[in-house]
């Protein structure tokens, strides 16, 4: 299994509070991704990173920001959490672009009350 961890694994927070989710990899892969999973939608890309300090938006980026100061860590921040951001969040990594398969972390379940 690819060395990907996510923290926290579960979080309950209140509307309006900031939340940061962390993805940590030990594979030294260049590309990292954040997805959210909601019923009826599968997984949808929020943001991705193609190197340290290099990030880009995905399909559902509104309300989220990301940062990557080290190869191994990719942070997802909800500046002011809303109930619509209640979801399961997955981090993924891949070594290169193109044909490389993405491997997923264990997920973080976030509940915004």
């Amino acid at each position: 299994d690819a060395g990907i961890t996510q923290s926290p694994r579960h979080k309950v927070t209140e509307t309006g509070t900031p939340v940061t989710l962390r993805c940590h990899q030990t594979e030294n892969h260049r590309y990292m991704y954040w997805y959210r999973q909601d019923p009826g939608h599968g997984l949808r890309l929020i943001h991705y990173s193609y190197g340290v300090k290099d990030t880009d938006k995905g399909e559902v980026s509104d309300g989220y920001s990301v940062s990557r100061s080290k190869t191994e860590d990719f942070l997802l921040t909800l500046e002011s959490a809303t109930s619509s951001q209640t979801s399961v969040y997955f981090c993924a990594i891949s070594e290169v672009a193109g044909e490389e398969t993405q491997y997923f972390g264990p997920g973080t379940r976030l509940l915004v009350l």
Binding site: G42, L43, L45, Y48, G58, E59, V88, A92, S94, A97
Partner: protein, 113 residues
């Protein structure tokens, strides 16, 4: 934009029997990759099989095989000799030459003993 459609929200199969999960996609590109991921109750996303669009030969991984029909934009997954451990949500996913995976909504597979 590319879309991926899984028209079967839920499927059932008897243990040791064969089941086929359907997936269609929409794209104007000629070079891309297709994937099936399995998500058991643990929520871990597990790669099952992948197919490169330029390859005419259908991919096979042990009991899992695909029927890739490029002209029809169809990518079905066949599971032979179904086992109780195959019970999971299955996601079809598409990726072009870039990094972004587009997922279908998923199919829940139930295996009956």
């Amino acid at each position: 934009a590319q879309t991926v459609t899984q028209s079967q929200p839920e499927m059932s199969v008897q243990e040791a029997e064969t089941v086929t999960l359907s997936c269609t996609y929409d794209t104007s590109e000629s070079d891309y990759y297709l994937f099936w991921y399995k998500q058991p109750p643990s929520r871990q996303m597990i790669l099952v099989i992948r197919q490169e669009a330029y390859k005419q030969q259908n991919a096979t991984e042990n009991r899992f095989s695909v029927n890739f029909q490029k002209a029809a934009k169809s990518f079905s997954l066949k599971i032979s000799d179904s086992q109780l451990g195959d019970a999971a949500m299955y996601f079809c996913a598409y990726r072009s030459g870039g990094n972004k995976l587009v997922f279908g909504a998923g199919t829940i597979l139930r295996v009956k003993s």
